[in-house]
């Protein structure tokens, strides 16, 4: 048993200490400390690797004890945690290295790298927890890091608002999750995950469904599932490497992890699984349609992430949680790759609008090559990683609920379409930019190459991943694989053909369906609806209640009763105009009197 195997707390402690050190040393030390930041994620992945070899000790300490009731803070590394730790560790390492180049000229690097390290610590805690409370602590702390990193450039009003929106929207889900914890405590007498999953088969159907759906609320908020998805596109205001790590590969996948972790509870409730399945399926298609019309490269990727997470939830709902985890792993690799690739493009061109790019292949060869690998993996073309995991998802859903599987096939077609639409418009054809782009430095391209390699080969590790989860691996099914590849090829061809030349064909199409295009571009109006029906009235209601109920009714009543007290008020105010001695002697007299009473009473 290695040092990492014998102490899983290292995966939390090391990144946390790194975060504190970076913050304490401040901006002058960032030339060194930005590299120290990699120690955190590397430790996490080493603990994860030790876990994959099946040799990690578990550890637990009492966190809250009152009489016989006790909530423990515990960590352990099983197959599921180990996989998550490796994903988090590897992607975070790549993101830290990439950020060294990306944020070379930023003055607030200490805050940035410290928060990245803190995020790693919180994420490690989340995935290793043996107790729902510790898990929830990690869960909320990654949310707080996300909030602080989306608002990293907080002087921009859009970034500050996006940060707040992200925290509040996910908080909607989180309060549901908190209620779920309370319900589980009441019915099972524990918040220990193993105890709960062990007791799950004995729960009544209603209780299991309620608890599962409340946990799913939390998962849907974190993983941006409809209708709680509205925060993720806005979250793109954060630095792009942050989007890659938090809003593509790790934190947003935590919802999938949570359901996989609590699987025995979901297994009991068919109703809850159906909700998960259809919310996931709908989100997958819904977000894919929006991704097809975005012109901001990061917005495309954001909606793509929402859609791909929908695939994972659909698989969970269909009972194929192994497939969901497999897709989580491959998606982490290729989506982090695509996000970092977009970061490299933004760094090289100074714009996020794909219509202002074009022909980047010649100016940014490494970025382009790795991007194409990522896009092909996303589209699901064999033998790249996305093909295998998406095939597993599709097979699982098609077997359970064929209708949902058919919807997902449609979403796959759209996925391939938008992936190659961006590829075609941004990287090939004639340049539409006013200034020439340049390839990014080595610290940025090296992580791209590593992630591209992973996106290319991870698909072959599906069997090992399923095995590590303690499940039976299933082979490819020719019919499903064929349908999926066919959908992908159609999508790719349409994407390339439609956006050939100088976007004329696409413009014509857009002109013909202007209203639909505008609706889709605005996310089918969900965000606007939420703003109009919830956000705006909340402020108005608060203001109204304050003026009418608090000030006029309650306080007005009190002040009215106090009218008689005005007489006393005059006396008191006369006292106040006096000298300091008056006050002091009043106090002194008061104390002498009360002490006298005490001594008299205590005779």
């Amino acid at each position: 048993m290695s040092a990492f195997g014998s102490n899983p707390w290292l995966a939390v402690a090391v990144p946390f200490i790194v975060a504190v050190v970076i913050a304490a040393l401040g901006r002058r030390a960032t030339a060194v400390t930005q590299w120290v930041a990699v120690l955190g994620p590397i430790t996490a992945s080493l603990v994860g690797l030790a876990g994959l070899q099946g040799s990690v000790a578990s550890s637990s300490v009492p966190w809250l004890t009152q009489g016989s009731a006790s909530i423990d803070a515990g960590v352990a590394v099983d197959g599921l945690s180990a996989i998550m730790l490796v994903v988090v560790g590897v992607v975070a390492t790549m993101v830290v290295v990439f950020s060294v180049g990306y944020l070379e000229h930023d003055g607030a690097k200490a805050r940035y790298f410290s928060l990245l390290a803190l995020f790693t610590a919180a994420m490690s805690l989340l995935v290793m927890s043996t107790n729902l409370v510790t898990l929830f602590i990690g869960w909320e702390l990654v949310g707080a890091c996300s909030y602080l990193l989306i608002g990293f450039w907080y002087h921009k009003p859009s970034a500050a608002s996006a940060a707040m929106k992200a925290f509040l929207t996910t908080r909607v889900g989180d309060v549901g999750m908190l209620l779920g914890l309370a319900l589980l405590w009441k019915t099972t007498g524990s918040l220990d995950i193993a105890t709960i999953t062990g007791a799950a088969p004995g729960l009544t159907a209603a209780t299991a469904t309620a608890a599962a759906l409340l946990l799913f609320m939390g998962a849907a908020g974190k993983s941006a599932q409809f209708p709680l998805h509205i925060w993720l596109p806005d979250a793109m205001e954060g630095p792009t490497p942050v989007s890659a790590l938090i809003h593509a590969a790790t934190m947003v996948a935590a919802g999938v992890f949570l359901i996989a972790r609590m699987w025995p509870l979901f297994e009991v409730s068919e109703a809850a699984r159906a909700v998960v399945l259809w919310v996931g399926t709908f989100t997958a298609l819904f977000a894919a349609t929006i991704a097809c019309v975005q012109s901001d490269i990061k917005k495309v990727l954001a909606y793509s992430t929402i859609s791909q997470l929908g695939f994972m939830f659909a698989a969970l709902g269909a009972g194929a949680w192994g497939a969901a985890m497999f897709h989580l792993v491959t998606h982490a690799a290729f989506k982090a790759l695509l996000f970092l690739g977009s970061g490299s493009v933004i760094h090289g061109t100074g714009t996020q609008d794909i219509r202002e790019m074009g022909g980047l292949a010649r100016q940014m060869p490494v970025t382009t090559l790795t991007w194409v690998v990522g896009a092909t993996a996303l589209a699901g073309i064999p033998p790249l990683a996305g093909f295998f995991s998406k095939d597993a998802v599709l097979a699982g859903v098609l077997h359970a609920v064929p209708a949902a599987g058919a919807v997902l096939l449609g979403a796959s077609l759209l996925t391939a379409f938008y992936a190659f639409r961006v590829t075609r418009v941004a990287f090939f054809g004639q340049s539409r930019a006013e200034t020439a782009a340049h390839e990014s430095p080595l610290s940025m391209t090296a992580p791209l190459v590593v992630l591209a390699a992973l996106a290319a080969v991870l698909g072959f590790f599906g069997g090992s991943i399923t095995h590590a989860l303690g499940l039976e691996a299933e082979g490819l099914e020719a019919a499903v694989a064929g349908a999926s590849v066919l959908a992908a090829v159609i999508g790719i061809v349409v994407g390339i053909v439609l956006y050939a030349g100088d976007l004329e064909r696409a413009e014509v199409l857009k002109g013909r369906f202007q209203r639909v295009h505008r609706l889709a571009f605005g996310g089918w109006g969900v965000d606007a609806l939420v703003q109009r029906t919830i956000v705006a009235p909340a402020g108005a209601i608060a203001g109204w209640v304050y003026r009418v109920l608090d000030r006029t009714v309650i306080d007005g009543g009190v002040e009215g009763i106090g009218a008689g007290a005005q007489f006393a008020g005059k006396i008191a105010s006369r006292l106040q105009s006096g000298e300091t001695d008056v006050y002091a002697s009043l106090v002194a007299v008061g104390f002498i009197v009360v002490m006298g009473i005490v001594l008299w009473a205590g005779r």
């Binding site: 009492p62 966190w63 809250l64 004890t65 009152q66 009489g67 016989s68 009731a69 409370v133 929830f136 602590i137 909320e140 702390l141 707080a144 909030y147 608002g151 002087h155 009003p157 500050a160 608002s161 940060a163 707040m164 925290f167 509040l168 908080r171 909607v172 309060v175 908190l178 209620l179 914890l181 309370a182 319900l183 405590w185 009441k186 909340a538 209601i541 608060a542 209640v545 304050y546 608090d550 306080d555 009190v558 002040e559 106090g562 006393a568 008020g569 008191a572 300091t580 002091a584 009043l586 106090v587 008061g590 104390f591 009360v594 009473i597 005490v598 001594l599 009473a601 205590g602 005779r603």
Partner: protein
């Protein structure tokens, strides 16, 4: 002896500060600081002695006057010791009659200590009333524009509650034939108990304050000097929760059982209402004041469950709110000192100009919204868990309150720290070194309790178990 010293030392310090104040401006604040520090050391010593005793209770009595330190009072005594130091630091630059100001602060600390340490009802009541006097003069003498009105409102509001409480205490003492605080040996007639509970409890509920008896609080806070707000929110409000658990409920357990659903409803109403009102504010200090109503709602909710888990929640929530509200009022006071305004709309983008203050404010806001890992969360978690056991799905309302808690805190950050810097603050200086140190100490406490809340529960466990067992309830 330590327990007596906890009351005598600040009183003596107050006298010295007052005398020193008449001879110049430097000495009183030094006297204040040294006394407050000594008081903190004394509180820690008393705690150590309590832990060393076999039954985790420290008693001291003379001439029939009894002082008690047990698991219920120990965290609050420690909190008072800490907040006392912070209040002195926050009033470091008071130029107007500093001697009297510090004398009042120390007298206030002595009075609060008396409440928390009192072993008999008379002393408890005397301390309770004595708190009003220095607080009244702190608001009235060193407050802002409408200080007189606010001071009087504070005094009368809480005084009316206290008078009712006195009537209740007299009834209790006459029935039980003993002034010693504890579960009465002669149970009080169950028919008397319902109104006795409300009689004693009403003064405590005003102090908490519970919705709808809260309107004195925002006025008092907005007008009070920074140190006054810190003591008021950090320590004084806790007298309410403490009094309920220590006096009102043990003397009238059946009355409490009948009143529990109402208390629970009031607690939940406070959580939502306080948060909603905080969200509606345009004055930063008033916003923080209303956040107290929301936070103390969790305390009342926990107590209302009548379970040891709920009591533990209340204790955690009180200690946490003491630290967090003191930090917030310290920061708002520091900002006001440099800008002479509390108008939220005039701020914006302060993070860029005053990064230390901005960072601390963001931290305080996250603590205030109950972020796990910080001190607010464990208490809220236990309150929700215990509340769900006692009141079932009604607890969903608390979830709405928790959401609103994030809304007002983050919108305050959004409007004050984030965004572009308003031009009028382009030369603003950052928070002073003294205030930074005080804030850092509070932040440290917030993190420690957030990470290891068991430190508090291990103290409170024996006392809470005893109190709840006397109620006839389980955990």
């Amino acid at each position: 002896m330590t327990l007596f010293a906890l009351i005598i030392v600040p009183l003596a310090g107050a006298l010295v500060a007052w005398i020193a104040g008449r001879r110049g401006h430097v000495k009183p604040r030094l006297v204040g600081l040294l006394t407050a520090l000594a008081e903190g050391v004394l509180a820690a010593t008393a705690l150590a002695q309590m832990l060393a005793s076999s039954d985790q209770v420290l008693l001291a009595s003379t001439r029939g006057m009894q002082l008690v330190l047990d698991g219920l009072s120990a965290p609050l005594v420690l909190l008072t010791g800490l907040i006392g130091v912070v209040a002195v630091i926050a009033s470091w630059r008071i130029a107007d009659r500093p001697g009297v100001h510090h004398a009042l602060l120390l007298a206030l600390e002595a009075a609060v200590m008396t409440v928390f340490l009192a072993g008999d009802l008379i002393l408890f009541y005397v301390g309770w009333e004595a708190v009003l006097i220095p607080m009244f003069f702190l608001i009235g003498g060193w407050g802002h524009e409408n200080r007189r009105h606010a001071a009087l409102k504070f005094f009368l509001y809480t005084f009316v509650g206290s008078v009712l409480m006195l009537a209740g205490i007299i009834v209790a003492v006459m029935t039980v034939k003993s002034t010693l605080i504890g579960a009465p040996s002669i149970p009080i007639d169950p028919a008397t108990q319902p109104w006795l509970f409300w009689l004693i409890g009403i003064g405590m509920l005003v102090k908490v304050p519970v919705f709808p008896l809260h309107t004195w609080l925002p006025d008092a806070h907005v007008e009070a000097p920074t140190a006054g707000s810190i003591m008021l929110a950090g320590v004084l409000l806790k007298m309410g929760g403490y009094g309920l658990m220590r006096v009102a409920i043990p003397y009238a357990p059946d009355g409490f059982a009948a009143a529990a659903p109402v208390l629970g409803a009031l607690g939940m109403a406070g959580i939502i209402y306080g948060a909603l009102m905080a969200f509606a504010q345009t004055d930063l200090k008033r916003l923080v004041a209303y956040s107290s109503v929301a936070h103390m709602g969790f305390v009342v909710l926990g107590i209302a469950t009548g379970t040891s888990l709920g009591y533990a929640a209340a204790m955690l929530a009180m200690v946490s709110h003491g630290l967090v509200s003191a930090l917030l009022f310290l920061l708002v006071g520091s900002l006001y000192e440099r800008t002479h305004t509390r108008e939220i709309a005039r701020f914006g983008g302060l993070g860029a100009r005053t990064p230390r203050w901005g960072g601390l404010f963001v931290f305080a806001a996250l603590a205030s919204l109950g972020l796990p890992g910080l001190s607010g969360f464990p208490g809220e978690l236990l309150a929700v868990i215990a509340g769900f056991g006692a009141f079932g799905w009604w607890i969903s309302l608390v979830a709405i309150g928790a959401l609103l808690g994030a809304v007002y805190n983050l919108s305050a950050v959004r409007r004050v720290v984030h965004g572009g810097l308003a031009e009028e603050w382009s030369a603003l200086s950052d928070i002073s070194r003294g205030d930074t140190i005080a804030a850092a100490v509070l932040c440290g406490g917030i993190v420690v309790i957030g990470v290891a809340p068991d430190l508090i529960l291990r103290l409170t466990d024996p006392a809470v178990t005893l109190l709840v067992r006397a109620l006839g309830g389980g955990s």
